[in-house]
Amino acid sequence: MESSRSIGVKVFAEYYHAAAEAHQEGKPIAYITAFTPVEILRAMGLVCLYPESYAVVCAASGRSTEMIQASGMEAFAQDLCSYSLLSFGAERCDRPPFHGLPPPDLLIATNNQCGTTMLWFRLWAQKKNIPLFIIDYPGAAHDQPALTRYIRRQYEALIEFIQAHTGNPLNPAILGEQVERSKQTCMLWQSVHEVNQARPVRVEVQRLIDALFPIVVARGTRQAYEYYEALLRECSQPVGQDKNHTIRLLWHGYPMWFLPKKFPRCGDTQCQIVLNDYTLWWSLRYPDTADDMEALAVAYSDTYLNRTVPRRVEEVAGLVAAYSIEGVICHANRSCRRALADISPLRQRLHQSSIPSVVIEADMANPQFHSAEQIQLRMESLCDALRVL
């Protein structure tokens, strides 16, 4: 049986290869945001590229500072979202990773994860004269059927928009396959995480970060499904006992993409980050329905950052209980205002459950806002506090 590593390499190569090939052959390319209903776009023959994911690649390449400074040449303020700065900076840098993303024919943005991406895409649309479509997800609603109808109407308009610009019609059979595979893939991704509910940890949090790419960029494809099937099989192998009684930590929020291991070094060997809830944000919940559009409307409306703060807090509190978490590290990511909103109420909620937490102020992709020594002090203080004096 093929290993997850082998499939993962293919997914990565295929994504960038398809982008280059589409550019050469004149196939329509769309830049899309992380939680765009990509299933519709694939069912209309679009090659979809994710600038946010590319920003992560740029950050992981170790050239964040250079690229962010390059974005300053376009007079962008340096305290904007670092994903957007990396994206703009990569266009002005020599030798960007994978020679940069090929130019798009269409831009499709959503507001179910982030408010900045809409502005970021709008800037591209104005600057490069590229057609832009924005899908509005209002989030919580008292009238769920009305919300679903509202989003469906936008999907219908999206289909017309794409067809008008590419001439490609929607293939309902491909859409059905894509939605079903996305649903199954998200369930596999959830199951991969859940193996860590047992002691000791079976899959290190860094491995979950490395395994994120297919569910972000290839959700709905056969390869992504096979990747997570293989990963779950590998992670379900029995492991030894937790003799040292590891103190289990949850990292709340974004990783730090520019760090080699994506999380700061704790320096305390007894404490281990066993879960990062950010990776679970991609475990979308597609409802059981034969209506593909409805399934997409419900799943993409209910992304983590599109939920109300009390719902988010209860979601994380539920993870703390399910994964036997003893302490929480909250990453106050300067780039993501929406993610910052739940930190204070979450800490209050955790306090009620006698779960200590600490806040680390940094950034997901900009090392200029990173102070390793201070972060380590806060993490070690949390670990000290978790020990019995």
């Binding site: 204070s344 800490r347 209050q348 306090h351 200590p356 937490s357 600490v358 806040v359 102020e361 940094a362 806002f369 102070s371 020594e373 201070q374 002090l377 806060r378 070690e380 203080s381 000290d384 506090a385 019995v388 004096l389």
Partner: protein, 284 residues
């Protein structure tokens, strides 16, 4: 007699505390932090041995804390300031439920329970706004030695307001105040108020700090102006122990005793530090 040492390698000063088997404070010492943290800590430690006439083999354990704790090559254990301060403060007074420490580079508010265990804590933003370094730089702008800031602020007659605790912004604001002819004592009071306001923000994050005694420790606790502003802002009496800058080192020494001393971990009243020794000798 066996002894235990706690070394608090701070960003400005190295503090060391010596406790005996009975967890009683015996001696404490402080030296400025030099470029070589390990050498400065060793000098501070040697000073204790020399002044007390204690042989090295009588020291059963050394625990380091503070920002330079990992640079102390000759210690057995390393502990963060949060834990050291909690243990040190609880040993001083078991009614303490909140410890405020304003150090050279950061400020902390720590909530502790009735057994001295850390329940929660909050620390300043990652820059040094509103810390000891902030006061050091701004006092230099005013040409007033740091130790005179507290008494001078007590003579203030007007409550000025500074809009920032950013060291750079505050410095330029102070220059504007001087240019406007504001009195030095009023500017100093505004500085103290800015620092206290920063701490109040941290304190408000900790819901378990609403009851019990609040202790203010660390070097800045010797500044009566900040103590007054803190009491005013928190609307609570703020307790400053004798030798507040040594609480972390004492906590570290006590943890060393509990780890390396004879017998089980002592709790309750017997674990209290001998704070009655108000005239405890301190070598500068």
């Amino acid at each position: 007699m066996n002894y235990f040492v706690g070394i608090d390698a701070g960003s400005s000063y190295i503090k060391a505390a010596l406790v005996n088997d009975a967890e009683a404070m015996v001696f404490q010492n402080v030296v400025p932090r030099g470029g070589d943290i390990d050498a400065s800590c060793r000098a501070c430690f040697d000073g204790i041995l020399h002044r007390q006439g204690i042989a090295r083999n009588q020291i059963r354990g050394i625990t380091a804390t503070g920002y330079g704790r990992k640079q102390v090559a000759f210690c057995e254990d390393v502990i963060t300031e949060i834990t050291a301060l909690a243990v040190g403060a609880h040993a001083l007074d078991e009614t303490i439920r909140c410890v405020i420490d304003i150090g050279g580079q950061d400020s902390k508010v720590i909530a502790i329970d009735s057994s001295g265990k850390v329940v929660d804590f909050a620390m300043n933003h990652k820059c040094s706004a509103g810390t000891g370094k902030f006061l050091e730089v701004t006092s230099a702008s005013l040409g007033v030695p740091v130790e005179q800031l507290g008494p001078l602020s007590q003579t203030s007659d007007t409550a000025l307001r500074l809009s920032s605790t950013c060291t750079v912004f505050a410095e330029s604001e102070i220059i504007s105040c001087i240019a406007r002819g504001e009195k030095t004592e009023n500017i100093i009071r505004a500085l103290h108020r800015a620092i206290a306001g920063q701490v109040r923000g941290l304190w408000a994050q900790l819901h378990s700090c609403s009851a019990g005694t609040i202790a203010f420790v660390g070097g800045l606790a010797s500044n009566i102006g900040i103590v007054d502003e803190l009491s005013d802002m928190l609307q609570r009496r703020v307790f400053v122990p004798p030798y507040p800058q040594f609480v972390g080192a004492r906590g570290a020494a006590l943890l060393s005793q509990r780890t390396h001393g004879n017998g089980a971990h002592v709790t309750g009243n017997t674990a209290r530090l001998c704070v009655s020794a108000v005239n405890l000798p301190t070598q500068e």
